[in-house]
């Protein structure tokens, strides 16, 4: 049975440890896309002994996995890539944390109960009502950059804006974006990274801290309903546990943080990095800002912030001609699908006018399709509009090379040093 605490030691059947599988370094991001291209050409489905996952890299195979909810369970989605020690799990349970499945890691019955409720709030029409507030937040951050000659765009803009937008959705004013960042960082590190020892213990404390914050928030909205996500879920619940339990509501509120924060931060950082790295594309956007929505899609395709997602087989399957046993872990390369040369010509070129860009799967596909996709698109579009207007001559800082978020699943620059007003040649 799948647990939410371990994926590491499951039997995987006879696993051929190919040379390519041996060479796979899931936590390293330098050479990331070169490796995917090599895998797609030589061994598009391979087994990684390092994480004990089957890795699927071609778009056609990725779509087949995402479409087949019966053969591929989502229950593994939030399980730690490396297993938690038993005493760590016990400490989280003792602290009141729920390992009950929520939206992203539930299968048919639970998912079909939760998703329609969440969707009543998390939808394009609702998001559109936040557009002007989001623009005001972005403009505040741009104003704070002022006349700085050099700035880290992640610290100055892309980290805090999505956190503040989440605060809008959750209707909270008593929490700093930096606190959300701390919680989210630890949550991601413990689930998708490789934390150990005191780092893991600290992540556990932060996880409980955020869980308890969400519990308090939900308890408050039971007494003082507002126009926000938790209040709407409680209203739909109508006091009926068969509709939603309080733990369901806390879990849905809790889940929004990671789902809507780091993903958008990384996607926006990747987009700006790619545009500044291919100057002619930046200039095309400047000349024709109507291309911004398409450029956002190209950013999501070219440099997805969610590069891998996970499923577990519920039966023996064959993917891309490779037999995979029941109970096996599958790592779906969304980055691979989005750079499949069969679908995207010259895929590593960033093309703001790419015609078939919406064929990307950066937000997944099928019934788990990202509920926050319209919000991410809205935030990224507004950020690009405002950046291009305020800093049309922005350049990457000379010699800057990004370090990447150290997880298997997410990819984005930890810092992004730019010259807002250009001038690298004069420097």
């Amino acid at each position: 049975m799948t647990t939410l605490t371990s994926t590491w030691t499951e039997a995987q059947g006879g696993c051929p440890a190919s040379a390519l599988g041996q060479a796979y370094r899931p936590l390293e991001h330098d050479g990331f896309y070169d490796f995917i291209a090599k895998a797609q050409a030589e061994e598009p489905v391979f087994f990684s002994e390092a994480i004990r996952y089957w890795v699927v890299t071609r778009r056609e195979d990725v779509l087949a996995v995402l479409a087949d909810h019966d053969s591929f369970s989502a229950a593994i989605t939030l399980a730690p890539v490396r297993p938690f020690p038993p005493d760590f799990v016990a400490a989280l349970r003792d602290g009141g944390f729920s390992f009950e499945p929520t939206l992203v890691n539930s299968d048919a019955d639970i998912h079909s109960r939760l998703r329609p409720k969440a969707q009543r709030f998390l939808n394009a029409k609702r998001y559109a009502t936040y557009a002007e507030s989001i623009r005001a937040i972005v403009r505040d951050h741009i104003a704070a950059i002022g006349t700085a000659k050099r700035v880290d765009v992640v610290a100055a803009l892309t980290y805090e804006v999505p956190a503040k937008v989440l605060a809008l959705l959750l209707g909270v004013e008593d929490i700093s974006p930096k606190q959300i960042k701390v919680w989210a960082d630890h949550r991601l590190g413990m689930t998708f990274g490789a934390l150990e020892g005191e780092e893991l213990a600290e992540a556990g404390r932060q996880l409980l801290d955020y869980w308890k914050y969400c519990q308090r928030l939900v308890a408050d909205r039971q007494d003082n309903p507002r126009d926000d996500y938790a209040s709407m879920l409680l209203d739909l619940r109508g006091g009926d546990d068969a509709v939603l339990t309080i733990t369901d509501v806390v879990g849905l509120v809790f889940g929004v943080m990671v789902a809507g924060h780091e993903t958008t931060t990384n996607a926006t950082g990747n987009l700006i990095h790619a545009l500044l790295s291919e100057r002619d594309q930046w200039e095309r956007l400047k000349a024709d800002p109507t291309l911004i929505p398409n450029a956002v899609e190209e950013g999501l395709r070219h440099s997805s912030s969610v590069v891998n997602w996970r499923r577990r087989t519920t039966r023996a399957v064959t993917i891309g001609g490779v037999d995979i046993p029941e109970g096996a872990n599958v790592l779906i390369s969304l980055a691979g699908a989005n750079n499949d040369p069969e679908v995207f010509d010259n895929s590593r070129a960033f093309d703001v006018g790419r015609a078939n860009v919406r064929d990307h799967v950066a937000f997944g596909k099928g019934r788990h399709f990202c509920l926050g996709a319209p919000l991410a698109r809205l935030e990224m579009t507004i950020i690009m509009e405002e950046i291009l207007a305020a800093f049309p001559d922005m350049e990457l800082a000379p010699g800057f090379h990004p370090d990447w978020v150290p997880t298997v699943t997410f990819r984005g620059p930890l810092t992004l040093d730019v010259l807002p007003f250009g001038g690298s040649e004069a420097a």
Binding site: P116, R120, A124, R358, G366, F369, A373, P374
Partner: protein, 105 residues
């Protein structure tokens, strides 16, 4: 059988269709702009919103509850004859269906 899509910029795109396929599948197969179908027919994205003429809507029928909710939340305002095209399973009776693609005036 054939169905036709009328796009926002006034183009008419005709496509061969097979009974059993959804209108969304025919549209994405034919590259109709404005019908995206990101969730592959799971009623989870609202990116295959379309509208039908009154007589065709009567033939196809109204949306179910979950579909109606998703239509309400899509970024194009739904009309009285809106459907998610992924939820329209084609039958031979739908031959000649005309599907309007958003945005519409």
């Amino acid at each position: 059988m054939k169905i036709a899509f009328l796009t926002a910029d006034g183009n008419r795109i005709e496509a061969q269709a097979q009974p059993g396929a959804s209108v969304m599948e025919i549209a994405t197969g034919a590259g109709v702009p404005g019908i995206i179908g990101e969730c592959s027919g799971s009623m989870a994205c609202g990116t295959c919103h379309c509208k039908l003429t009154d007589d065709r809507y009567a033939l196809v029928g109204p949306p179910g509850d979950d579909e109606a909710a998703m239509l309400e939340f899509s970024d194009t305002e739904p009309t009285a004859t809106s459907r998610l095209s992924c939820q329209i399973a084609l039958t031979p009776a739908h031959d000649g269906l005309i599907v309007h693609v958003p945005p519409w005036a």
